[in-house]
């Protein structure tokens, strides 16, 4: 007979050492997660400290990145990350939501599973394979069929000025769009599927067409969840590394032209870290810290929105 603390006992107290040890071990495993988070923040900050101290806020606003003179400004990367992600969102969001609506509302039932699986398969393709395809298929395609008409049509705008050499923000944006589409689409699907069918049926009963029922009854109900899905996609786009570093050109330039090469925070780290030393390495750590901060904020926002609408489940952390 082993001790159990006195009544009233709302929970079964440890029986001997078995239960206590079990709980301690599991708690230890679970604690690795907050530990990892704190360690990441701490380590990144400490390693970035030399440049934080040397450049302060100017690091985020200046564009000079000179390893020889040891002057570092990350504005081009920050801009590049945001710009390429924006392009990706502009392309991916309408398609992803369209796919989600198609799969939950209009697709014939036997098609839903297979087509949904195929879309989610996009998320299974490794980033480096996307990069490979980007270099040898997408860029030549852009060069031959897409950029010339774009250039003649829109070359007068700052967004399509300059010469296209292949590696560009446009290529990066398109690849990113394809990569984030499955995430936005699958979360949107879950969110739309969670809308009670009574909503749709009520609209139809009032004489709405199928599309109107979706637009006016289903989508508004799922709105914050869909926004969460989009923000989730943004979070992924911000951090994508390999595909981007292979097609974006890796030039430390801040240009709004899609046809020009550029760089992103993730890409510059991948490109320069192994050869960097001293202050340059600290600068790359600071870039990493900024990237980490941005993705944490964006992902936190997305999770809050998605939790609120969809069922309690690990949506978005599924790759396939």
């Amino acid at each position: 007979m082993v001790d159990a603390p006195g009544r009233p006992s709302p929970r079964l107290r440890a029986v001997g050492w078995g239960d206590a040890a079990f709980r301690v071990i599991l708690t230890g495993f679970a604690a690795t997660i907050p530990l990892l988070f704190v360690a990441l923040v701490a380590r990144l900050t400490v390693s970035a400290w030399p440049t934080i101290r040397a450049f302060g806020v100017r690091f985020l606003t200046t564009s000079t990145w000179d390893p020889v003179a040891n002057v570092y400004g990350a504005a081009p990367m920050i801009f590049g990350t945001l710009f390429s992600s924006l392009i990706a969102l502009l392309l991916a969001v309408p398609l992803a939501i369209g796919v989600a609506i198609f799969l939950t509302e209009f697709a014939p039932r036997p098609l839903r599973g297979p087509v949904g699986t195929l879309v989610e398969l996009l998320a299974a393709i490794p980033s480096v394979v996307y990069g490979l395809w980007g270099i040898f298929v997408l860029i030549p395609l852009l060069r031959t069929y897409v950029v010339p008409p774009l250039g003649t049509l829109l070359g007068w705008t700052p967004f399509f000025s300059g010469t296209f050499y292949g590696n560009s923000m446009l290529a990066a944006g398109i690849i990113l769009a394809v990569m984030i589409l499955p995430y936005i689409s699958s979360v949107s699907r879950e969110v739309l599927a969670a809308v009670p069918s009574s909503q749709r049926e009520a609209a139809l009963a009032l004489g709405a067409t199928r599309w109107e029922a979706v637009w006016s009854a289903v989508l508004p109900y799922a709105r914050s969840g869909v926004v969460g899905a989009v923000i989730l996609g943004l979070g992924r786009a911000l951090g994508e590394t390999m595909a981007v570093v292979m097609v974006v050109g890796n030039r430390h330039d801040l240009s709004v032209s899609l046809l020009e090469p550029g760089t992103t925070m993730a890409a510059v780290i991948a490109n320069e870290f192994n050869e960097a030393a001293g202050l340059q390495r600290a600068a790359l750590f600071e870039v990493g810290l900024v990237l980490f901060g941005v993705t944490v904020a964006v992902n936190a926002l997305a999770r809050i929105l998605v939790w609120r609408v969809a069922r309690e489940s690990a949506i978005g952390s599924r790759a396939i």
């Binding site: 679970a30 209009f106 490979l132 040898f136 394809v178 292979m246």
Partner: protein, 281 residues
């Protein structure tokens, strides 16, 4: 004179058609990539490809044997570290995760799942590569494990939560201590789902490149020592694709095809496990 109703009906059909177009457009890259993988990669797949190491720069022939073995070793070691911890954390979240600590862990797990893997890479560089003094497969495995743990913890939690409460109660009513009820009944019942989540995570990390750039680094030679730099398929594809030689480009497609195959095997394995579960039930 088209009536308003007819106009609305047409609009509805148009919008429906647009969603179909969206689906087609979304799937186009998928088919294109897979087609290119097969068309451009199949030509590289010969016996040499699987058993030889890369040839000297510029030479034809050679293979990716070291990369295939390296991928399996690093993914294996990474999974050996990451899966038990992730599954344990997931069981914690499902069984004891109702309080504030559980909420924090759950939230951070979701946030960490979305963290760029390149950042984990530089972190592990600082923590493992620097003290060790050199790159190593072990460092790469640790980086991959760090990516897996948050992912696996959430899928495990989800699966354990799905187990009906009555099973836990029946075990407790039989006089099982809490830990035994959890492991022998609840986790066992959730096991197929947990394995599925684990396989999905393994498929994800098998394709990772960025964190390995600063940890495992890559190696032109055949290595099985985890304390040395090691090559993986993902790293090899990156090197070949961005290199100057046509031959390398050709081999990159072959390596990509093999890597995609490995990823798909794990992914299909995951689906197979789920299907078997429902058949038994």
């Amino acid at each position: 004179m088209i009536s308003r109703v007819a106009r609305r009906r047409v609009a509805s059909h148009v919008m429906t058609g647009l969603t179909v177009v969206a689906a087609i457009l979304a799937l186009l890259p998928l088919f294109a990539i897979f087609a290119d993988l097969v068309l451009r990669g199949a030509s590289s797949l010969n016996w040499d490809f699987f058993v030889k190491n890369p040839a000297a720069a510029g030479d034809t022939g050679g293979g990716v044997a070291n990369a295939i073995v390296g991928t399996l070793i690093i993914v294996g070691v990474g999974s050996a570290i990451g899966l038990p911890v992730g599954i344990g954390a997931g069981v914690y979240l499902a069984e004891y995760g109702g309080g504030r600590f559980g909420t924090v862990v759950r939230f951070l797990a979701d946030v960490l799942t979305g963290t760029p893997s390149v950042i984990v890479g530089i972190f592990v560089w600082m923590f493992v590569v620097r003290p060790m003094g050199h790159f190593s497969a072990l460092a790469g495995a640790i980086a991959l494990a760090m990516l897996m743990i948050p992912m696996v913890s959430r899928t495990t939690e989800e699966m354990v939560r799905l187990v009906p409460h009555s099973l836990r109660e029946a075990a407790l009513a039989l006089g099982f201590p809490r830990w035994r009820a959890t492991t022998h009944v609840v986790v066992r019942a959730a096991w197929p789902g947990i394995v599925t989540g684990a396989l999905v995570a393994v498929a994800r990390i098998a394709g990772e490149t960025a964190p390995l750039l600063f940890t495992a680094l890559g190696n032109l030679n055949f290595r099985t020592n985890v304390l040395q730099p090691m090559q993986t398929l993902s790293l090899q594809i990156y090197v070949f694709a961005t290199g100057p030689f046509e031959e390398w480009h050709r081999l990159a497609w072959g390596a990509a095809l093999v890597l995609m195959g490995i990823v798909l095997i794990f992914g299909l394995g995951a689906r197979f496990v789920t299907r078997t579960r429902f058949r038994d039930g």
